[in-house]
């Protein structure tokens, strides 16, 4: 499964929400890989733990993070990604139920590329997720992968 090309890494602990998101992404489903907590998300992106064999040369075009993730929360994952040259440029979308202003502010503060509140109404939810998939997987030009060597830090 990890061998397949992953264009969208979805970190979402609620299986129902995951299912609704995948349902809404319909055609893009097989390009999505799902993890259920913050540790798994970081393991995946840094090829650690059960993802140790994953090629570092391949990064998803976008990471979608729920704010409330088990073990390591969404904001902490975002902070870790922004702190490492290997993952610094990966577009991150905070996809969450919360629209609290301070969460939105914190997301941008930590370097999120987008902050989207999951609408409660399913029609709007489906349309939102569909547009997000379309934008980040088709329209947006992904960043060239940065390497520690090139960055030199």
């Amino acid at each position: 499964m990890t061998d397949a090309r992953v264009d969208l890494l979805l970190a979402e602990d609620n299986p129902s929400d995951t299912e609704l998101i995948l349902e809404s992404l319909s055609g893009l489903r097989e390009r999505v890989f799902t993890v259920e907590d913050g540790v798994e998300a970081l393991d995946f992106l840094f090829s650690r733990g059960r993802f140790a064999g994953r090629a570092q040369s391949s990064m998803p075009r976008v990471v979608m993070l729920d704010v409330k993730l088990p073990k390591i929360g969404g904001f902490e994952v975002l902070r870790a990604l922004r702190a490492d040259p290997r993952t610094r440029r990966i577009p991150v979308v905070m996809l969450t139920s919360s629209n609290l202003e301070r969460d939105v502010a914190r997301g941008y503060e930590l370097g999120a590329n987008s902050y989207v509140q999951k609408p409660v109404d399913f029609d709007r939810f489906r349309e939102t997720v569909r547009l997000l998939g379309l934008y980040w997987l088709s329209i947006n030009e992904p960043p060239p992968l940065s390497t520690p060597r090139a960055e030199g830090t």
């Binding site: 609620n14 409330k68 939810f125």
Partner: protein, 495 residues
């Protein structure tokens, strides 16, 4: 008249120590104030050793700078008159002012040079007890009638009078307090700060609260501390000025404030959790019901389709409830950002926003000129959005909906109203209108969550205003509100 004496024999005599036991502080100065003799009683009274002060001037040590002129005159008078008895203020080495009773005698040595012999006793406590008796006959009734602890302090920082409440609050008797430094009632760590503020206060005495923005503490006799609020006012008595401190124990209030703070904290955590966790299951119910109905396709039977619709309606309503409640909570916490705003502009803007809700309906708007008032424009928009959208909603059964926004009353306190020709309501339930989740109509007839008017009321209260409604069943309704001056925002609304 001064009589010449042999000064060496006098000094020997005085130094014998026997007289000191009776005399206390004894010292001798030349007419210019230079100290030529200083006994051990003087050392213990003023804190200076003989080695430190003999040969120096009293005007540099024990005479407070503010009294130098007086003391020079008194020395001169004593020289002329031969002897004098008086009470005055001295400064100790540690800076503390004390009251002394002085007996001074002019003497001459064999060469005819004059000396002054001074014998001094500390009468500070005695003096304050005595003065308090006089003050008390004048102020007792006023002081005892006050609900606060009252402490009068003179420019030396000493307590001149207290009332019974002060005795009770600090756990001292009147006798223990009179003549003490007021710092006795202040925790030690604030003493230096308090002394500095006290000196500044007497330089420019005026009525004011003490320590604005600071947490003030009092200290009881048993050493325990308690939070206080203090109001200071100057009190002129004859030629001197006293500071009158009215002290209130605010322990109980502080405790309530703490409890309120922690309750608010919990409420915020709850709101946060609602905003995160309650939305997800609502969306899931709605989402899976939708997917299921799509799955079943056009072949779905009538009953199943109906149930699925009911599920989705329920989910939708729950979603709106959560959003409205979060909005209400947010407005409760939000600080008012008032400025001068023309209400007409806000109403016009709101009318434009609401156009999409009334497509195909015949609406007759009447918007009178409205005043420019001091208010939070963002929140005022929420008020008009709710009131106008209610007017539109409840006038929906009419062929032509008439919505009238106007203003009554004088410029000082204008009353704004929104009136419609809708279905109105029974005035018997008018008191329920502004409660959260209170609805006077069935959801089947008029949709809504019952949070809108509660939100409106909270905003109006935050502005220090009032809101009320008048209606007749089937004859339309009118909502009136006033707005008050800024700064009143938390006067009526605790949350």
């Amino acid at each position: 008249m001064t009589e010449p004496i042999d000064d060496r024999s006098l000094i020997r005599d005085l130094a014998s120590g026997m007289t000191e036991a009776f005399l206390g502080a004894l010292f001798a100065v030349r007419p210019d104030g230079t100290i030529i003799y200083w006994n051990s009683g003087a050392e213990s009274l003023f804190g200076y050793s003989a080695a430190e002060v003999v040969g120096t001037s009293v005007f540099e040590t024990i005479v407070p700078p503010e009294h130098v002129e007086d003391k020079r005159r008194w020395l001169a008078a004593a020289l002329d008159g031969g002897s004098a008895l008086y009470e005055t203020v001295r400064r100790r080495k540690d800076g503390l002012r004390i009251w002394v009773d002085i007996s001074v005698k002019a003497v001459r040595d064999n060469d005819g040079k004059a000396y002054l012999l001074l014998n001094e006793r500390d009468v500070t406590r005695v003096k304050y007890q005595r003065d308090a008796t006089v003050l008390q006959t004048r102020f007792r009734e006023v002081l005892e009638a006050a609900p606060d602890a009252i402490v009068l302090v003179d420019s030396l920082g000493r307590i001149t009078l207290v009332n019974s409440e002060a005795e009770r609050l600090f756990g001292y008797t009147r006798g223990e307090l009179l003549g003490q430094l007021v710092e006795e009632l202040v925790p030690t760590r604030f003493h230096a700060q308090h002394r500095a503020h006290r000196t500044k206060y007497f330089a420019e005495p005026q009525t004011r609260p003490m320590g604005i923005g600071l947490e003030l503490s009092g200290r009881r006799k048993d050493g325990t501390e308690f939070p206080v609020e203090i109001s200071l006012s100057p009190l002129s008595i004859e030629t001197s000025v006293l500071a009158m401190a009215a002290i209130r124990d605010v322990s109980a209030r502080k405790k309530i404030e703490e409890a309120l703070k922690s309750a608010n904290h919990e409420l915020e955590a709850f709101t946060y959790s609602v905003s995160h966790d309650l939305r997800a299951p609502i969306r899931q119910i709605d989402g899976f019901a939708r997917i299921l109905s799509e799955q079943l396709g056009p072949n779905i039977d009538e009953k199943s389709a109906h149930y699925l619709r009911r599920i989705q309606e329920g989910a939708g309503h729950m979603g709106r409830l959560v959003d409205d409640l979060l909005n209400l909570a947010r407005i409760g916490r939000q600080d008012l950002k008032p400025r001068l705003v023309g209400l007409t502009a806000i109403v016009n803007e709101t009318v434009v926003d609401l156009q999409s809700e009334v497509v195909g309906r015949d609406i007759q708007w009447q918007i009178d000129p409205l005043p420019t008032v001091y208010c939070d424009p963002g929140l005022m928009k929420v008020v008009f959005t709710n009131l106008l959208s209610n007017a539109l909603k409840y006038s929906r059964p009419r062929a032509v909906s008439v919505v009238h926004v106007g203003c009554n009353g004088d410029r000082a306190e204008p009353t704004i109203y929104v009136r419609d020709n809708g279905v109105g309501f029974d005035m018997a339930y008018a008191d329920k209108l502004f409660g959260v989740f209170q609805r006077l109509h069935r959801v089947e007839d008029f949709e809504g969550t019952g949070v809108g008017l509660a939100t409106v009321q909270r905003i109006i209260h935050k502005h220090g205003g009032r809101i009320w409604a008048e209606a007749t069943r089937d004859q339309g309704a009118a909502f009136y509100f006033t707005l008050n001056a800024p700064g009143a925002e938390h006067a009526t609304e605790g949350a």
